[in-house]
């Protein structure tokens, strides 16, 4: 069960329904890192109730706006909520209201400017989206191609950030090895829209989604895979509105790759290692995909999979979600450090995730902590044991 079954009416109603029970506090990584009531989900809802439900606009000050941005949208609070409020959606609604009042934080400005100009989160031109693929055997094969079996949606981070592009390269190599007929949207791929949703601009996010869906339709492709959990989650939630009867299977790469393993199209070798798995929030708690990545890890002979103290629905965020890094990188780092403590406690030699952002956050924090733990994306792990 994921957070999909949570309820949401309006910001005004949900803020009133909040019982202020505080079940959300202990699970909220931001509250755990900061410690003040205003950093807790119930604290934020309490002020939202004053401002929006009870119409006391005086309470809408800079301090509150900053607190609203201090959230990774990990959804742990929604899972804990005693009154079943979809708090993740509520925060995005809250950010939209704040943006609508012209009070959005400056940290979002550069991100939004890049998206408006380049259709991706960076200041690189979108035509360069496939630059990461220069090292693959046949880069041309990744150019958009109609009628392919599968479209691999690479995502902004894996397309433009060298460390994260390892994920895209690994996925490409695995799909090639399994002789999957696949393509990408190349320079026609736009950001999935998640950063816009997370900064309170859902209408713009819908435009991005519509564009991407139309590209898929134009290519007559009916299976979509994303290695980025946020892209996957946004597609899962947002694409149906624009599919309009068009049949499209939306999968995270782990769901597709375990299928290939089970069909015998991929053969995994052995690895003697103690591995722990970090659930990305948008894939696990918010997306409902827990078993596929674990099944892949367990399909490798010799691997011992040890669970982190908080796993699956109770997993702790890596700190990298919700645009938090663009407004408070220090807080994001403090949240990662808490997760690293749990990784350390497992005694694992390798921590595997299925998200380029988690991988980046965990790598930096593990390096900082001086731990001898290797951080890998699941696609990199597969590649290492590919028979």
């Amino acid at each position: 069960m994921s957070n999909h079954n949570k309820t949401y009416n309006t910001l005004e109603q949900e803020s009133l329904i909040c019982a202020r029970c505080g079940y959300c506090r202990g699970v909220c990584p931001v509250y755990r890192a900061i410690g003040w009531e205003s950093a807790s989900p119930r604290g934020k809802l309490s002020i939202a109730r004053q401002v929006f439900s009870l119409k006391d606009q005086q309470k809408l000050d800079d301090e509150f706006v900053h607190r609203v941005t201090q959230c990774t949208l990990c959804g742990a609070c929604a899972q804990a909520c005693s009154t079943d409020i979809d708090l993740r959606r509520l925060y995005m609604d809250l950010r939209e209201r704040i943006a609508g009042m012209g009070l959005a934080p400056k940290g979002y400005t550069a991100l939004q400017a890049n998206l408006a100009a380049n259709r991706n989160i960076t200041n690189f031109a979108n035509q360069d989206r496939l630059d990461w693929a220069q090292d693959v055997d046949d880069p041309e094969q990744l150019e958009p191609r109609a009628g392919a079996e599968v479209c691999y949606f690479v995502g902004c981070v894996s397309s433009f950030f060298p460390q994260a592009s390892e994920v895209a390269l690994s996925v490409t190599e695995i799909l090639t090895e399994a002789k999957v007929d696949f393509t990408t949207l190349g320079g026609d791929e736009w950001c999935c829209g998640f950063p816009l949703l997370a900064s309170g601009r859902p209408d713009e996010a819908r435009e991005f989604m519509q564009h991407n869906v139309e590209r898929i339709k134009a290519l007559d492709i009916h299976t979509f895979i994303a290695s980025c959990p946020s892209c996957y989650h946004v597609w899962h939630q947002g694409a149906p509105e624009f599919l309009d009867g068009y049949k499209l299977e939306i999968l995270h790469s782990t769901e597709y790759l375990i299928r290939l393993i089970k069909e015998g199209r991929l053969t995994l070798g052995e690895m003697e290692a103690r591995i722990t798995y970090h659930d990305p929030c948008d894939l696990g708690r918010n997306g409902g995909v827990f078993d596929a990545p674990r099944a892949i890890i367990q399909a490798i002979e010799g691997v011992e999979l040890v669970e982190l103290a908080h796993n699956r629905m109770q997993s702790l965020c890596c700190g990298g979600g919700g645009n938090l890094q663009s407004v408070d990188a220090e807080l994001a780092g403090a949240i990662t450090a808490m997760r690293v403590e749990e990784i350390k406690a497992t005694g694992a030699q390798i921590v595997v995730s299925a998200c380029q952002q988690c991988e980046q956050m965990l790598s930096a924090a593990i390096r900082k902590a001086g731990l001898k733990v290797k951080v890998m994306d699941i696609s990199q792990l597969i590649l290492e044991v590919l028979g």
Binding site: L16, G26, W36, F64
Partner: protein
């Protein structure tokens, strides 16, 4: 009050102390949605300063310094109560205790655990379960309620039926007393452990608790549909008189069940009636015997139906989420009281009649906490955006308490808002005893002042009764459909 002292504390604690308006606002409330109109003219609920100490020594230091200047101190952890138990009424310093978490020591041979006081019950339970142990009893708000906080509120909850109140399971505590000294307190010390149960942070700040644990054993859950409240009480009594004592008994009356169904939150029987969740924990023989007891009851009470195991499991899994009913609100108002088990059906009959008089739907559930007593919550939907109606609706909370009192019950928890019922909760001699304890430990009255011992003038029993009766009269005439 010494501004210099507050400034000096703020400087010393750096980013762990704040006087930010946003924070002061948030620390001036708990779960109780009481309109500002009723609070601000009477009480100074916004603290001057909030501090987050990390150790017992820091707490002692703070209490000593506040004591020297006569600055009121309000301890606060989960703040998961509704009576302003952890909300200041005379401003001063709020000590946010939430950094005080974690297990200090586990004695598996002696079956005790020593835990820092602000650890939540869910966290302690998770820690113990990992080692095949469990808490003997937990509050129904375990994900938020803290170990020390629940002891301060007396501690009747899930598991109390089989294992007794929390107080009976606590071996010792560490507390910072109002003069700033740190003391390990047990049943044989002066002050004694029982002084602190239900003291609501007025005698000092509990920093550590040593309590008994039990082995984690298999459970079996039964969900009975019972059309009649009187039959429900008879069934409860039979269950408690049987060879194996249930771990937990939780009864939801037909109005509560219906409201949950209307909200799509319960899939239980579509027939009118209440639901009794019966939970057992123990060895194979005990659980088998429990099954036999249930079968005997089903034979004797043909109107009682045993619902599916999956429904029973769901009820148990959602034991901390009764407040989900609030989705029908947006607000709920209500009263929580300790009531003799044998009076439960009469009480429910009584409030049902009252519901007709006031054109309101009272939803109730009861948690049996001992063979004699149940914790009963009766509530109704309200809307706090309609301030006047909402304030008038508060008069029905007193009507609930009055009905409970007629049936031998009294409010559970005091804080500020239940002080008008002080004489219902304590006899004169008991009041004398607890006031004497307060005088002895806190002669300056700095520790969580304005709570538990005396009723503030504006809330004194006469004013309160008169005011509430007038509002109830208005509610009766004009309140249909509110």
């Amino acid at each position: 009050m010494s501004t210099m002292t507050l400034q000096s504390i703020q400087e010393e604690y750096g980013d762990r102390a704040t006087a930010s308006p946003l924070e002061r606002e948030l620390y001036s409330r708990d779960l109780g949605p009481v309109p500002a109109l009723m609070v601000d003219p009477l009480f100074r609920t916004r603290p001057d300063l909030i501090v987050r100490p990390g150790t017992t020594e820091e707490i002692a230091n703070l209490v000593r310094r506040c004591g020297a200047e006569g600055i009121p101190v309000t301890p606060r952890a989960g703040a998961s109560t509704v009576f302003f138990n952890a909300v200041p009424v005379k401003a001063g310093v709020v000590i946010d205790l939430n950094a005080l978490t974690g297990v200090v020591a586990l004695d598996e041979a002696g079956m005790t655990v020593t835990v820092k006081a602000s650890t939540t019950w869910s966290d302690l339970e998770a820690y113990l379960n990992a080692g095949s142990l469990a808490c003997k009893t937990v509050p129904s708000s375990a994900p938020a309620a803290t170990i020390g906080g629940w002891l301060c509120m007396m501690g009747h909850g899930i598991g109390s039926l089989k294992y007794g109140s929390l107080l009976s399971q606590v071996r010792s505590i560490e507390a910072v007393l109002p003069d700033g000294t740190v003391k390990r307190i047990s049943r044989t010390t002066e002050p004694s452990l029982d002084w602190f149960a239900a003291s609501e942070g007025t005698l000092g700040i509990i920093t550590e608790v040593e309590l008994e644990v039990r082995p984690l054993r298999p459970m079996r859950h039964f969900l009975l549909h019972i059309p009649d409240n009187h039959a429900a009480v008879q069934v409860m009594n039979l269950l408690m008189a049987a060879q194996v004592m249930p771990y937990n008994l939780h009864f939801s009356d037909s109005c509560f069940v219906r409201a949950m169904q209307d909200l799509g939150l319960s899939q239980a029987s579509p027939n009118p009636g209440g639901l009794l969740l019966v939970d057992y924990e123990g060895g194979t023989d005990e659980l088998a015997e429990a099954g036999i007891t249930i079968q005997k009851i089903l034979k004797e009470y043909t109107s009682v139906t045993l619902l599916s195991e999956s429904l029973a499991q769901t009820e148990w899994d959602e034991r901390y989420k009764s407040i989900r009913i609030k989705r029908g609100g947006p607000a709920v108002l209500g009263g929580e009281l300790l009531l003799p088990v044998n009076s439960l059906a009469g009480y429910l009959d009584d409030i049902r009649k009252m519901a007709d008089v006031y054109s309101v739907n009272f939803l109730s559930y009861a948690h049996v906490v001992s063979p004699e007593q149940a914790l009963v919550m009766s509530m109704f939907f309200a809307d706090e955006t309609k301030t006047l109606q909402y304030i008038i609706n508060l008069s029905l909370v007193k009507k609930i308490q009055d009905a409970g009192y007629r049936h031998g019950g009294c409010p559970y928890g005091i804080g500020l808002w239940n002080t008008p019922y002080l004489r219902r909760i304590y006899s004169s001699s008991q009041l004398t005893v607890i006031r004497e304890r307060k005088r002895k430990l806190d002669p300056l009255g700095i520790m969580n002042p304005g709570k538990v011992y005396r009723t503030p003038f504006m809330l004194n029993a006469l004013n309160f009764s008169l005011g509430m009766e007038v509002l109830a009269g208005v509610r009766r005439i004009f309140g249909k459909g509110w």
